[in-house]
Subunit: 318 residues, 2 copies
């Protein structure tokens, strides 16, 4: 009898679920809108529906466990603290506690970026690499750290906020409210903000042509214009890449990973972003012991969170 | 029969050794000058003499193991790579390999700052804290990271270079040759450099009075003048403390320790340094999940490396 694993990705927009075997092969998937504005109980109910949907036609006895990835800081008791994409989420609600009352298989929860690192480690570009950092560059910048084969969680479970390193004291204000963080210098939000500010009155650029209006400019338009060779778009991408590179240098000197994987929406730019990141890293790491650390694109794409949640179950039950 | 543990601290100036029981109680100690200019073989011979000296009068059968702390990046085979305080050290010399040929008990080696973290974790201010960072502020800035109760070593053993985080892109050049590192902004060397540069032509200060000449100014004179209330010395200490605080903020967001210990010569300034460090940390950490992380002085003083080497043996044999 196949043993099944359930992975759930609780996002601000969608709740997604998969059922896989122990090798991560997908046997079923389902999704629905999160609609967080309807409140946590309604969201939890929809999550239960998704679990039931991906388990349709299989015995619950054959389900080894349920893994949930959720945004924001999550403590060891499964409570999410002020998740940015789930406004008003109750601080005392334990998702694993709630699932434990409804389902017989054990359930586990983790921060989505941490689980993405676990997913890439078990099923993706991080296979066989026991010292691994996954960095997601998207609306924000987050990450997960595998150290000595284990997820690095910190004292309460809040480690790996790699986007919240100060790189420029007194620099632009981050989404978290503090100044000069990597996220405020190089996230999709930061790239779009810089582009909008400059193009309000500044240089002509393909970015504006593509976006139509200044308000419409996103990191995606900047990336597309950069791929077309637009000089100002390339300047913006290089600037973000330089800061990402400096952030990786700090992570390398502190954690000495063997490999770093870059995922998230902004990373879809590919080598136009990764090449200048690698250049900064090569120029700024201490030689020679830190040379040769690979910086590669993450490989699990949209499913990284789901496979990460499955990885969490596999790790916890090992 | 008491089981004995040998701890050796291989420094640029002194080789020191202790013999302790499993609780770290010291039964013997010895030291000699390192004289690294006489070459690695001579240094190794002196280390062997120190081991024999602290083992005098006990059966070698009762010695559980020998731990060695050494400066610089050390790989898993016990080779030191370009140690800054042991110029000309051969890259292919394995200290543990050499000791293994001479002594029956197993020997282990680690980077001195990493071992200091292990020492504080087992015997000092880090007891009972499984997520701990030790930072030494001295000529340079180094550190050791305990994560989930284990030393974080990285892929090859080079992790925890906490002084080599970029905090000010394009800032002052560090001892490692790269720009804007914490070490270049807040180490004893950096504090002395700033004081000398300013007092060459600048403000009157008790620092210059205490040092006699500009060339004589050290971080120690700056600290002593600050403790006497000299405004310019306090300004220098506050500036260094601000950067140390920002470096700790980055470590907190990346690693989420429960406690941070500050050791090293510069930390002897005490609260005159630690209070502004704590102020910066309190102002710059993300709230509220990272609040309450303790920043305390390390407690093992001069013996931290020796007790760290003993801790290494205890951990390896556990």
């Amino acid at each position: 009898m196949t043993e099944w694993f359930i992975g759930i990705d609780l996002g601000g927009t969608l709740i997604r679920g998969i059922r896989t075997d122990g090798e991560g092969n997908k046997a079923a998937r389902a999704q629905c809108h999160t609609l967080p504005e309807e409140g946590a109980e309604a969201v939890l109910k929809r999550m239960v529906d998704i679990i039931n949907e991906v388990c349709a036609g299989v015995e619950m006895d054959s389900v080894a466990g349920i893994g949930v990835g959720a945004p924001g800081p999550i403590d060891h008791e499964g409570r999410i603290h002020n998740p940015p994409n789930l406004p008003g989420w109750p601080a005392d609600l334990s998702i694993t506690g709630a699932l434990g009352k409804l389902f017989q298989p054990p359930s586990f929860i983790g921060n989505d970026a941490n689980l993405a690192a676990m997913g890439e480690h078990r099923f993706g570009s991080g296979r066989g690499v026991d010292d691994l950092i996954y960095v997601t560059v998207s609306t924000g910048i987050g990450g997960g750290i595998i150290s000595g084969g284990r997820l690095l969680v910190g004292g309460q479970g809040y480690a790996a906020e790699v986007g919240h390193q100060v790189l420029l004291p007194g620099g632009p204000i981050c989404g978290c409210g503090k100044a000069g963080h990597l996220e405020a210098l190089a996230s999709g939000t930061a790239i779009a903000r810089e582009a909008r500010a400059a193009l309000e009155s500044g240089p002509t650029s393909l970015i504006l042509e593509m976006a139509g209006t200044v308000e419409n400019i996103s990191a995606k338009t900047v990336g597309l214009a950069a791929m077309e060779g637009d000089p100002f778009a390339l300047e913006l991408v290089n600037r973000a890449a330089m800061y990402i590179g400096l952030g990786l240098v700090n992570l390398i000197h502190i954690l000495e990973p063997s490999r770093i994987l870059i995922g998230g929406g902004v990373s879809k730019m590919g080598d136009i972003l990764l090449d200048p990141v690698r250049k900064t890293v090569n120029e700024q790491i201490m030689s020679p012991v830190y040379e040769g650390i690979e910086i590669l694109p993450a490989s699990l794409g949209e499913d990284v969170g789901l496979l990460g949640a499955v990885s969490l179950v596999l790790s916890e039950l090992q």
